[in-house]
């Protein structure tokens, strides 16, 4: 089985369980910055935790403070292992850019359309070139 290749936006390597969100999410008002848990009660994945996951986001919506929530998750060491976005979202990536300015290790970010996201394995390693291999 071949897996989709991701387009690197903010390069880096990552591995971890793949968490595919089934609906768009606003990090601000949707993710607790202290725990990484999804708190938006209308979101189908409410209650799940995004820390350490390769987080596949079909789309991002809502608040322009989502960058601040991601920055806090990064500082606390509970950010996703990687962001995989249907459309490159400036708001989230700014959280990563500022983290790098502050000397905090930020997750890489990749672009992959929602159809490709659906083909991701349950747990994966992504190399710096965006190539996906399954983790057993």
């Amino acid at each position: 089985m071949t897996f989709p290749a991701l387009t690197p936006l903010l390069p880096g390597e990552a591995s971890g369980p793949v968490l595919q969100l089934s609906a768009p999410l606003s990090f601000w008002g949707g993710v607790d910055p202290a725990t990484g848990r999804i708190t938006q009660v209308r979101h189908p994945d409410c209650g799940r935790t995004i820390g350490g996951a390769i987080l596949c986001l079909p789309a991002t919506i809502g608040s322009s403070s989502s960058s601040a929530v991601l920055l806090e998750l990064i500082r606390l060491g509970i950010a996703p292992a990687a962001l995989v976005m249907g459309t490159p979202d400036a708001i989230l990536m700014i959280g990563c850019l500022v983290a790098r300015e502050m000397g905090w290790a930020a997750p890489p970010a990749f672009a992959l359309d929602p159809a490709g996201q659906a083909l991701m394995p349950g747990a994966a390693r992504i190399d710096a070139g965006g190539n996906v291999s399954p983790l057993s």
């Binding site: 919506i61 322009s64 403070s65 990064i74 400036a90 959280g95 300015e101 502050m102």
Partner: protein, 417 residues
């Protein structure tokens, strides 16, 4: 597409004007590269959403900028902080968080931001000219700035906003480009009853429906000519930007880039979706998260109440005493107008807690974390359950007042049938 910088921009990036400016240019140019921008665009004002405390990281970044000598190049207003410095509403933040939130607010003031502390800066005198490029954060402010004022901004995330304010530049992509501002779909409200279209309570609901349909697309709403007011457009935009990634909306005949269908679509044929009562009722039902009719608290003011809305609240209370905690979130600009009108004391004596500089959904002000919160705001309805733990009932401002007097949900259904 590669990013081309002017010689001056290249010098700023190299640290010619200090490390603070270089940091801001790094963040802006990297964002520009990621978003496929070919150049930067000069911006004439900024609105900063980055001064709300979500954890120590934001405070540490703001103080890092201050230490690096950050100074602003353009007029810049501040969105809400986590503390009420103007009216003294009590925030239940633990001491460390309280201290860090305060330090963060002071750091942004130290950089030269105007201490407006409001999510409705456009009602506090910050109104950039039609067609001008600006860099605004806060999703409702972005939507209002683009849609109602006709100035041009993307949805600038926290921290990019302050970098734009320091450099007077932003990545040139998205809504800065005129061709990207055209509507690609329409919602047609002309089949709905005139009395519904002319009521305040309709606007957050149609805004929610619009945001759900839009995602990141630009749309236009038909059939609302003569029904819009500034506060209704404010409520629409806030709800739309909560339910979708809406940075720009058009209301035909009401917003400045939609004088007629040909102009707003650029002459293209676009799909037109008729809005039915059933669609509207589904969107309205989604704004409430409970069937419980005992009301524990009421919150209005997302976006921040204008002075007119506070005076309307005063008229609706009509000298009665509220039996439930009632929070009216607003900016210090509107509190000053309320005081000038001589009505602040009456409102507070009736049982209204004025919350300025912040709001009950972004910082812990509400007592306890269980119960039912009633609101007339589509944005509060969207975010309150996750942020506060309260379940939500949505209704008109008048219904919020009657419910706060009686303690039970009072809501008129006839308008919606």
């Amino acid at each position: 597409m590669s990013l081309a910088l002017t010689p001056e921009e290249t010098r700023l990036l190299a640290g010619d004007q200090g490390e603070g400016m270089a940091l801001a240019m790094r963040v802006i140019t990297e964002t520009a590269r990621l978003m496929g921008a070919s150049r930067l665009v000069p911006v004439v004002s900024a609105h900063i959403d980055g001064a709300l405390y979500h954890g120590d990281s934001g405070t540490l970044f703001a103080e890092h900028l201050v230490r690096l000598g950050a100074k602003l190049a353009i007029p810049t207003t501040l969105n809400v902080g986590a503390l009420d410095l103007a009216c003294g509403a009590k925030t239940r933040l633990p001491p460390h968080q309280h201290d860090m939130a305060y330090r963060m607010m002071r750091a942004y003031e130290a950089m030269g931001c105007a201490p407006t502390w409001t999510c409705a800066p456009y009602q506090a005198g910050h109104r950039p000219a039609f067609g001008s490029d600006v860099a605004w954060g806060e999703s409702n402010a972005v939507a209002f700035c683009n849609s109602v004022l006709g100035a041009r901004t993307n949805r600038y995330g926290d921290f990019l906003d302050i970098c734009c304010a320091m450099t007077a530049r932003a990545p040139y992509y998205g809504l800065h480009i005129p061709e990207n501002r055209r509507a690609v779909f329409a919602l047609d409200c002309s089949g709905l009853s005139p009395s519904l279209r002319n009521s305040d309570v309709f606007w957050p609901v149609i805004g929610t429906l619009f945001g759900q349909r839009a995602g990141t697309d630009i749309g236009v709403v038909l059939g609302l000519e003569g029904c819009a007011t500034e506060d209704r457009l404010k409520a629409f935009g806030a709800a739309a930007a909560s339910a979708g990634a809406v940075g720009l909306f058009h209301i035909l005949g009401e917003t400045p880039e939609a004088p007629d269908l040909a102009t707003v679509t650029g002459g293209q044929d676009i799909p037109v979706v008729p809005v039915t009562a059933a669609m509207l009722n589904a969107a309205r039902a989604g704004l409430s998260t409970t069937g419980e009719t005992a009301i524990d608290a009421v919150a209005i003011g997302s976006p921040h109440c204008s002075a007119e809305e506070l005076l309307e609240l005063d008229r609706l209370i009509a000298g009665r005493r509220l039996t439930r905690p009632f929070y009216a979130c607003t900016g210090r600009h509107a509190v000053a107008e309320l005081e000038a009108a001589g009505r602040r004391r009456a409102l507070e004596q009736a049982g209204v807690t004025l919350v300025a500089d912040t709001c009950v959904v972004v910082t812990p002000i509400l007592d306890g974390v269980k119960g039912v919160l009633m609101t007339n705001s589509g944005k509060f309805a969207h975010y309150a359950p996750g942020n506060t733990g309260y379940a939500v009932q949505y209704g008109a401002m008048a219904e919020c007042v009657e419910s706060a007097v009686s303690g039970r949900l009072v809501r008129e259904e006839r308008l919606w049938s």
